[in-house]
Amino acid sequence: MDAKALLDHQFVVAAYSVTWIIQLGYLAWLGIKWRAQKREAARNIRDTG
């Protein structure tokens, strides 16, 4: 692999990595939010009987 192709490859890796970090980061944030809401809903129901 020549220098140009190697640099291109590194940029492609960077673009793909950024994509997955953003997408998986958002999914993780959604998961945390979902769990917090489930706990809040359960507490809400318990408090009101």
């Binding site: 192709a5 673009a15 950024v18 953003i22 997408q23 958002y26 999914l27 939010k33 809903a41 809400n44």
Partner: protein
Amino acid sequence: MKKAAISLYVVVTLALMIWGFYQAIYVAPTDAMQGEIFRIIFYHVPSFAAAFTFFSVSFLGSIGFLSFRRSHPEWAQMADAWALAGAEVGVVFCTVGLTTGPIWGRRAWGIWWTWDARLTTTLVLWLIYVSYLLLRRFTAGPQMQTLAAVLGVFGALDVPIVYMANRWWRTQHPAPVFGGAEGSGMDPSMLHPFLWNMLAWFAWGILILAIRYRVERQHQKIAAREAEQALNA
């Protein structure tokens, strides 16, 4: 049954993502002009296609909320949840497009960014929907949903402008690959990997859109219950 269908959808989506990645890296040939860097197209373009689609979902949800808020309050709440989910997932995909684009541009053009019509209108679109999300996050009260819906409707007007920008004006951004001038298009050896990735990213987008919708509906129910408790206290 419903759980099994959801699990199956998740498995199919993950399989599509893996297959799409394989197609993009190992199957698609290296571009004769751009070389390896061209492979960014398999993530960059589907991200913007998904962003535009989810902003359209937000637009329809906003219209639905404004239409039903007096006659069918429950429908209006559902429409509002779709509007929020569409805007948020759209921002996620638009962020991906706006970060992969400069990475590609740095190698292809030698610059990270330029203020041409395509890039600028896309940044404005992103800023409009980020402001939509900030409006929803930092305001409260009965008018919040209505204001957000109005912003959602006006924000969506930028989507066709972004799409047409490199057709209407001369831009640093390349001319459209699909639906452009005569001779535009993609070789089938690249088109098939591209379509697999398009399918995979849409499947992924629909999955996170559905999760975000569920979270928002749950939030609405908790808020309604708390409001009812406050009234009864």
